[in-house]
Symmetry: C2
Subunit: 206 residues, 2 copies
Amino acid sequence: MRISELSEHTGVPIATIKYYLREGLVPEGARTSATQATYDRTHLERIRVIRALIAAGVSIAGARKVIAALDDPPDSGHDLLGAAHAAVTPPLDDGLDVAEAERLVAGLGWRPGLCDREVLGGVARSLDALRGSGFTVPDEVMAAYLDALRAIARAEIAGIPTESPEAAVRYVVLGSVLVEPLLLALRRVAEQIASAERFGASEAKE
Amino acid sequence: MRISELSEHTGVPIATIKYYLREGLVPEGARTSATQATYDRTHLERIRVIRALIAAGVSIAGARKVIAALDDPPDSGHDLLGAAHAAVTPPLDDGLDVAEAERLVAGLGWRPGLCDREVLGGVARSLDALRGSGFTVPDEVMAAYLDALRAIARAEIAGIPTESPEAAVRYVVLGSVLVEPLLLALRRVAEQIASAERFGASEAKE
């Protein structure tokens, strides 16, 4: 198909697709003349993936790393997850103290040595931000978070498909990032339901 | 204390504090002369809250709504949660179909009528983005998400302090938003641990 059809099918403007091509995020099409190229399903899917990553708040640089992992899959499932996380995790700031994050993680029988330090750094950074705002997560609530996220992670990792490396890459890289907005949105729904249960709100807000 | 001290204690530049003052996000200090004012703990805490909200990705407009809920607390806990969510939830797009989100929510014995439609809209929007990228959440994983988030929400709502409306407002408004990065960061740690359990990664990544 032509670039105009790619644009129609994906809803992404032609200028943006050209930008993705220049940036190497989308592979070149097959040249049919000096000024024309033709594209196929691969290009279509790639553009959809990029659009979804960007809609989920991933930067162009982060999208590039995700695309690199899709193009050249690491050997093991664990390394794959590491690549996915690296694509969306900021580097560890100098001077960021991860000791508290390690204690939090270790306190639940998890071994912090199994985690990338950048990922632990994300926990440390969010704990710092909470402390800075003067907000404290009650211990019982923190315990509920850890239990619930452990259950979520186990289900997710158990669900990694093994039929092909491509399928595994897609699942890990996209699932890790694109599911975040869904989880946050579902949490808000769950909070409203739990709040209605506790405080007895009237039904049918239209 | 003077504005320079406010800046030192919070790490927020004086120019930014002046912007917050102009925007009405931080209340005026007590005038001591035509060009000087003095500030107290209230101002310090308010600036910390704003900084934390912005660090968590909340817009200035969203921060303004959160501040309004802090300044003028709604009567019931349930309305309070609604105000917190409204501050951080985009309005419902025309044409966004929330039917699938309602089915997802109803399928677990939740009553969609108990939720604000904007919050359901968040679920619908994230489901659309996932579909657009060609990513499907396996049924067992979705079931794990719903169970886990229900457990999280129950613990959070049970933890709402009742000793004062101010304490409840702080807890709901800030907890609802500021905890999001912590949950996402802990999920990544949990994923790496679960992945190490399944694929047997070597320990001690330094």
